[in-house]
């Protein structure tokens, strides 16, 4: 009960001087914020990539022939077969793998696919697409069969007044193909995400990141079709492959890319291999060492906060001599006085921790908003926040130790005489 009274007393001081308390708590507030904010972003993004890798490109490796290589041989279906054989030996668990040849329509228009993608029947799975209705195409068939992506399916359905299944799609060679399957429409975010995992419509990507990638020598591709959700998949005829699409678990992204590059190098192919570069660093916890920097900033802010609190505590110990004396006359022991001061320190620091955690959430939300990486999210890092909070409260209590001892040692008689 007495402890509760002490807490109430401590908080009443904060209430009486809200602005001053807020200003003095800056060290704790910012200290907790800089400790929690990076952890929130790292944790949220890692969780997002692991849980929704397909939506933000976190489970895909895309391979194309190097356009600048001398005498570069084009990719072929044999290269895809070689990958299928070699990747498991390299410890890569392949979720889906397909080689696609891209063919543009003769005349683009409504209800006409942006691209015809020639590959194996299950090629959509290699792009993380799921069959919503119908079946996968077979070949050979009397009438060429296609599976269409969600947005295109919607257009075909509107045109026919019914469903997209059974609708005809004009092929570039003049023939018509029959729609036998419809793929589930992708989310707007998935449709905006490129092979590097960036949201291509994010203003930071269009203004800064996209240009930076060009400066780093990363080639742009004629691949807008990947983001329209308006393509048709046919069973391939011929051996030419323009893009190899490989799906693996997000934790294996880098290993899969390296292994694929090695296999294709060994076959004399010069290739460029795309995958979101940030996710492997996150999932592999390689950025965790940078938490030391936020820890250093946390400790810096905390030391500043604690030192100022101790300083103010020493001053107020003098000013509150009368209050302490009355308290003692009322029967409080020296220990009670010391405990009251320490509890005040803990209560005020706890308030700082709460405000700091809120500030961290706001900073994390702002950081995510400014980030063009499609999979960047934030989540409240309970463990890190708990540790940071406990350390901050401990620092607040320690900062009050010297003032508490001074107040406890004060003679009530002297203090009342002075008053």
């Amino acid at each position: 009960m007495r402890a509760l009274d002490n807490v109430r007393l401590g908080l009443s001081r904060v209430r009486r001087r809200p602005v001053r308390s807020f200003l003095l708590l800056q060290g704790t507030i910012w200290g907790v914020a800089v400790a929690v904010f990076p952890a929130a972003v790292l944790q949220g993004t890692t969780e997002m990539v692991l849980a929704h890798g397909a939506e933000v490109g976190g489970d895909r490796v895309t391979i194309a022939a190097d356009p600048t290589a001398v005498d570069a041989a084009p990719l072929e279906t044999e290269d895809v077969d070689a990958l299928r054989r070699a990747l498991p030996d390299a410890g890569v668990a392949v979720v889906a793998l397909a080689g696609l040849r891209v063919e543009k329509p003769a005349a683009p228009g409504p209800a006409v696919p942006d691209a015809f993608l020639h590959g194996p029947a299950d090629a959509p799975a290699a792009r993380g697409l799921v069959l919503a209705e119908g079946r996968l195409p077979v070949a050979p068939a009397a009438v060429p069969e296609v599976v269409v992506e969600g947005v295109l399916a919607g257009e075909l359905a509107r045109r026919s007044g019914g469903g997209a299944l059974g609708a005809d799609v004009p092929l570039p060679d003049g023939r018509a193909a029959r729609v036998v399957g419809v793929l589930r429409e992708r989310t707007p975010l998935a449709r905006r995400t490129n092979d590097f995992g960036f949201d291509t419509e994010h203003p930071v990507f269009t203004g800064v990141t996209g240009r930076l990638l060009l400066h780093l020598g990363i080639p742009p591709g004629d691949d807008a079709w990947k983001r329209t959700d308006r393509c048709a998949y046919l069973v391939a005829e011929g051996t030419r492959v323009d893009w190899i699409l490989l799906r693996v678990g997000p934790a294996q992204l880098r290993a899969a890319a390296r292994a694929a590059e090695r296999v294709l190098d060994g076959r004399g192919r010069a290739v460029v291999v795309f995958y979101p570069p940030v996710y492997p660093l996150l999932v592999g916890r390689e950025l965790d060492r940078f938490r030391t920097v936020s820890l250093a900033l946390f400790l810096s802010c905390l030391v500043m906060g604690a030192v100022v609190m101790a300083n103010v505590g020493l001053l107020t110990a003098l000013r509150r001599a009368g209050e302490v004396a009355v308290h003692r006359v009322e029967g409080a022991t020296r220990r009670d006085v010391a405990v009251q001061w320490l509890v005040e320190g803990a209560a005020i620091s706890t308030l700082g921790v709460v405000l700091g955690a809120l500030l961290a959430c706001a900073l994390a939300a702002l950081r995510v908003r400014l980030e063009p990486l499609a999979g960047m999210r934030w989540a409240f890092p309970w463990r890190e926040a708990g540790i940071a909070g406990a350390v901050a409260v401990l620092a607040g209590v320690l900062a009050q130790a010297l003032p508490a001892s001074r107040a406890a040692r004060m003679s009530p008689v002297d203090a009342l005489v002075d008053e």
């Binding site: 194309a64 190097d66 600048t68 290589a69 890319a257 030391v303 100022v308």
Partner: protein
């Protein structure tokens, strides 16, 4: 003048009279300055080093080659001897050095095996396209042909011959893991223009998405004589110009032949051959680095701001405790200005002392972070002066409100309240 001096002295005396409080305030400043000197050193030191590095990539060099565009199905752009001839003819009066480049990706084995290096076949003029010196040996001569000799980038030499000094690599042979084979002897080692190669290699996740031409500037190459790769196709033509004026002229003529690709233009409408002025890249990349360094300032500014707010609040509370002293000083004849100067002098003395204390703290912090994070944190003495100025500014700014309050105090009211 003398009264101001007295006020300053009084300020210093007050600092000494309250050693514990002053020391605690100084510690706050010390921590803020330790962070400041670290962040400024890292920001500007890193930025300066990287910009110095990339400036060595050849400011007066222009590269012409196939556009790095992935256009499946589109015919591959031709780029070979006819284009080289066109370039030479266009620049014949500019004393330009033109170096045709052929590249191949290859594995190589020295004392150790390296899976992927760029084999770059170039003429003896190649070093003139860069501002990078040899650290050992020499460049190959026009008489040396085929895969008899090679020059290694320093990082390639270190990877192929781990633990061997560049000078000792000379004369060693490496085996190229390619169908046509090749065992060239190393005649030279080119310096590494990348100061932070370890950091670059650790975080260069996009290496596999760079084209062969782009990989050339990772400086992990094996350079061999021009005749070593016999393809009629070229990867690129490097053009080095002797001065700014001729660089501008050459750039204009080449861009008239192959218009520059605008990144906003759809890929299918982009030119298949690109003129790439390295200086544009150097400037753009340097600009990005500078912008990053400017953003990095936010960190130390935040810490200094937090320190400033807390010290201001602390000083305001302290002034409140010193009403009597201030009133007595006013009665003794001190002017409002004298009191403001006294309080400011107290703040400055404490914060500058804290700033000086923060420098060794910053040094230790940088050393610890460099070891733990494996990132080039450093304590740069050039920025210590800047940090001391920041500490003085911190002291001055955090004294403004307390000085105003001290100066604005009415001694009569304070003392009458005391008496009653």
């Amino acid at each position: 003048m003398s009264s101001l001096l007295l006020a300053v002295l009084e300020g210093f005396r007050h600092v000494v009279r309250q050693p514990l409080r002053s020391a605690l305030t100084a510690v706050t400043c010390a921590v803020a300055i330790a962070v400041t000197v670290n962040v400024i050193s890292l920001n500007y030191g890193f930025d300066e080093d990287v910009r110095h590095d990339i400036a060595r990539f050849g400011r007066l060099t222009i590269d012409v080659g196939r556009s790095p565009l992935i256009r499946p199905g589109a015919p591959r752009a031709t780029f070979g001897e006819p284009e080289l001839l066109r370039i030479r003819e266009a620049l014949v009066d500019l004393s330009a050095v033109t170096v045709p480049l052929r590249t191949e990706s290859t594995g190589a084995r020295g004392d150790a095996e390296v899976r992927r290096l760029v084999l770059a076949a170039v003429s003896p003029d190649y070093p003139r396209t860069l501002d990078v010196d040899l650290v050992a040996g020499r460049w190959f001569t026009a008489e040396e042909r085929g895969l008899s000799v090679c020059v290694l980038d320093r990082s390639a030499a270190e990877a192929l011959f781990p633990g061997v000094l560049p000078q000792a690599v000379l004369g060693r042979r490496l085996h190229l893991e390619r169908e046509a084979g090749g065992d060239p002897a190393v005649v030279g080692v080119l310096d590494d223009p990348m100061t932070y190669r370890a950091v670059y290699e650790a975080f260069d996740e996009s290496r596999s998405s760079r084209t062969l031409a782009g990989q050339l500037f990772s400086f992990r190459n094996v350079y061999v004589p021009e005749s070593a790769l016999a393809s009629p196709e070229l990867t690129m033509v490097h053009v080095a110009l002797p001065d700014e004026a001729r660089f501008a002229t050459a750039r204009g003529r080449l861009e008239a032949m192959w218009p520059v690709n605008d990144p906003d233009v759809p890929p299918e409408r982009m030119s298949t051959v690109t003129v790439f002025a390295r200086r544009s890249w150097i400037d753009a990349f340097g600009g990005t680095m500078q912008a990053g360094a400017l953003l990095g300032n936010f960190v130390w500014m935040l810490v200094v701001l937090v320190a400033c707010i807390m010290i201001t609040t602390l000083n305001l509370i302290t002034i409140r405790e010193r009403y009597d002293e201030i009133a007595v000083r006013r009665c003794e004849g001190a002017r409002r200005l004298d009191l403001a100067v006294q309080v400011t002098a107290e703040g400055l003395a404490t914060s500058v002392a804290g700033g000086l204390l923060g420098l060794p703290l910053g040094y230790l912090g940088a050393d610890a972070l460099r070891r733990i994070v494996e990132f080039p944190f450093r304590f740069d003495p050039r920025y210590a002066l800047a940090a001391i100025l920041v500490s003085a500014a911190l002291g001055a700014v955090s004294s403004v409100l307390p000085a105003r309050r001290a100066a604005g105090l009415d001694p009569a009211r304070v003392l009458s309240r005391r008496v009653t």
